[in-house]
Amino acid sequence: MTTVKDVCRHVRSKNAGPYWVTFDLFFDGPESFQKHHANPALGPQLFQRLFGADPALVRHYPVADLNAVKISYARASPQGGVVERDMHCGQQFVRLLDVQLD
């Protein structure tokens, strides 16, 4: 059983403007990148389940030169609303760390 934190040297999350959140998963090398960057376990349904994202508004960009994948989703409610818990979304990456990849 492999989880995100087993194959990434760094994972981060951040708001990208008030309406989008973006995750950068830096894999520990080209092998892990090739093996896992397109894993369906990191697909739109994951972001729907964890963050209530609309699957049609989840974007996925492999960045081979950095052995990284960027995944961005549109927030269900804009930054700073009534139940805002994480203005910069800087803690959201934690919920990806234990996602199972195989």
Partner: protein, 460 residues
């Protein structure tokens, strides 16, 4: 052949802390301009809605004084965008007053261009009715009610107003809301640099030394743009840039790592190549600019409801072993209490309990079997249409929040609270309400340039 155009980007954002020795080093390296942004939407909508800065005045004054002094000494322009955190007119005026104070104190006589980007609601409604405003996902078409719900609306300017102000001889530009990249690329565009490298260099340098290997050594970088590409190096001799640190910055805070939409075009770095020139400097080539119809993004912010909060700390192991149950029972009791005491007058209210030390940050229930924490903090948040009602709701819940028993009929517990009165009026909930672009034919259509010429004032 274009001589390299060198720009000091002294920090990630004005007020965050400029190092005077770094700026001096940049000048010694032959810099032609100093450019930085002074804000972003990152810290939330309050700063646009209220027209205030997130920074304290003394921090901004300190940084701006270093830059204005350096600019005057070297005879090069100082370019600041998104003044006062949000770039609204009030934010810009606040920064203007600081600049005038600095000029008076240091005996400087800059020719100052103020680029106002705030939009009035009537003309925005007219442009919207004419079909010039288009939504960006996830929002839909703009309506008048949404425009009216904003306290302040800004258009996010491109580089053209900055280029025009530089052409007209500005020594200091204080801009309203602007893309970070437009602020940093404007001087190079004025000098005829190719647009791909100029915009890409600006994107890489937008957070100062964040594109370097060490995040905490120094604050600034020097970008040097030529006909084929650009180079970047940190201004601190203790720091260095490498191809990884520079290319990774394209990912930072961007939804898309290869394409960056700007007013009038898209920066495309898909084919960009990053190479180490030496231990400190990186050269970037292959950046492309794809010209598009001219659009400016709109940002609007306004107040929603008002909030009153209360805080407690809990160490009682019985409560800590049953936190989910405690949360649900307390929340139900509070909602019931508001309905029975305030009733319909409470209006459309919301009570939220955030258990710090358990699940406050995500709101997600920890998996079964998660060990009980040693202590938790609980934040009560009441949201209502007015501040007064939010506080009435908090007061109605006061006894429930401080003494809610997990075991019925037990002696009434008291949880740890630190303040009296216990309820804290937090103010309004400020929200961004727009995610739209406006199509314009003339890049100068939505900016108002105001000049303050201290040289002329001197002469007069």
């Amino acid at each position: 052949m274009l001589d390299p155009i060198k720009i000091i980007v002294p920090c990630g954002s004005l007020g965050a802390g400029v190092y005077e020795e770094e700026v001096r080093r940049g000048l010694e390296m032959g810099a032609h301009a100093i450019a930085t942004d002074a804000g972003s939407t990152d810290s939330g909508a309050a700063y646009l809605a209220l027209g205030v800065s997130k920074n304290n005045r003394a921090s901004v004054k300190r940084d701006l004084a270093i830059l204005m002094k350096a600019g005057a000494e070297a005879g090069i322009p100082v370019i600041v965008g998104t003044s006062g955190q949000a770039g609204g007119d009030k934010n810009l005026d606040w920064t203007r007053d600081i600049a005038l104070e600095i000029a008076a104190e240091l005996g400087l006589k800059p020719r100052i261009a103020l680029l106002y980007s705030e939009q009035d609601k009537a003309s925005l409604k007219a442009r919207n009715a004419a079909g010039a405003v288009k939504p960006l996902a996830p929002l839909g078409p703009l309506d008048d009610a949404t425009i009216d719900a904003c306290d302040h609306i800004v258009a996010v300017l491109g580089a053209e107003p900055y280029v025009a102000a530089l052409e007209a001889g500005a020594d200091l530009i204080l801009g309203g809301r602007t893309t970070d990249t437009a602020v940093l690329s404007s001087f190079a565009l004025l000098k005829g640099a190719p647009w791909g490298p100029a915009w890409h260099a600006a994107k890489i340098a937008e957070c100062g030394s964040q594109c370097a290997v060490y995040r905490t050594k120094g604050a600034g970088v020097l970008i040097s743009i030529d006909a084929e590409g650009f180079e970047v190096e940190p201004l601190s001799l203790e720091n260095r840039c490498d191809p990884h640190s520079v290319s990774a910055h394209m990912l930072y805070e961007n939804a898309n790592p290869f394409l960056l939409t700007e007013p009038g075009g898209v920066l495309d770095v898909t084919a960009a190549r990053y190479a180490a020139l030496d231990a400190r400097r990186v050269r970037v080539t292959g950046s492309a600019w794809d010209e598009k119809p001219y659009t400016l993004k709109l940002e609007g912010a306004g107040a929603g409801g008002f909030q009153t909060i209360m805080l407690i700390g809990i160490q009682d192991p019985e409560v800590l072993s049953r936190l989910n149950e405690f949360h649900d029972k307390m929340l139900a009791a509070m909602n019931h209490r508001v309905h029975t005491t305030i009733g319909e007058a409470a209006g459309d209210f919301d009570i939220s309990l955030r258990i710090y030390g358990w699940n406050a940050v995500s709101g997600e229930r920890p998996p079964e079997g998660t060990p009980a924490p040693r202590e938790v903090g609980v934040m009560f948040v009441a949201t209502a249409a007015t501040q007064e009602m939010a506080t009435q709701i908090a007061k109605a819940c006061n006894a429930w929040f401080f003494h809610f028993p997990i075991v019925e009929d037990d002696e009434l517990p008291s949880y740890g609270f630190a303040f009296t009165p216990a309820d804290i009026e937090r103010g309004a909930v400020y929200e961004f309400k727009l995610n739209h672009v406006i199509e314009i034919d003339d890049p100068m259509a939505l900016v108002r340039t105001v000049w303050i010429d201290l040289k002329k004032k001197e002469a007069a």
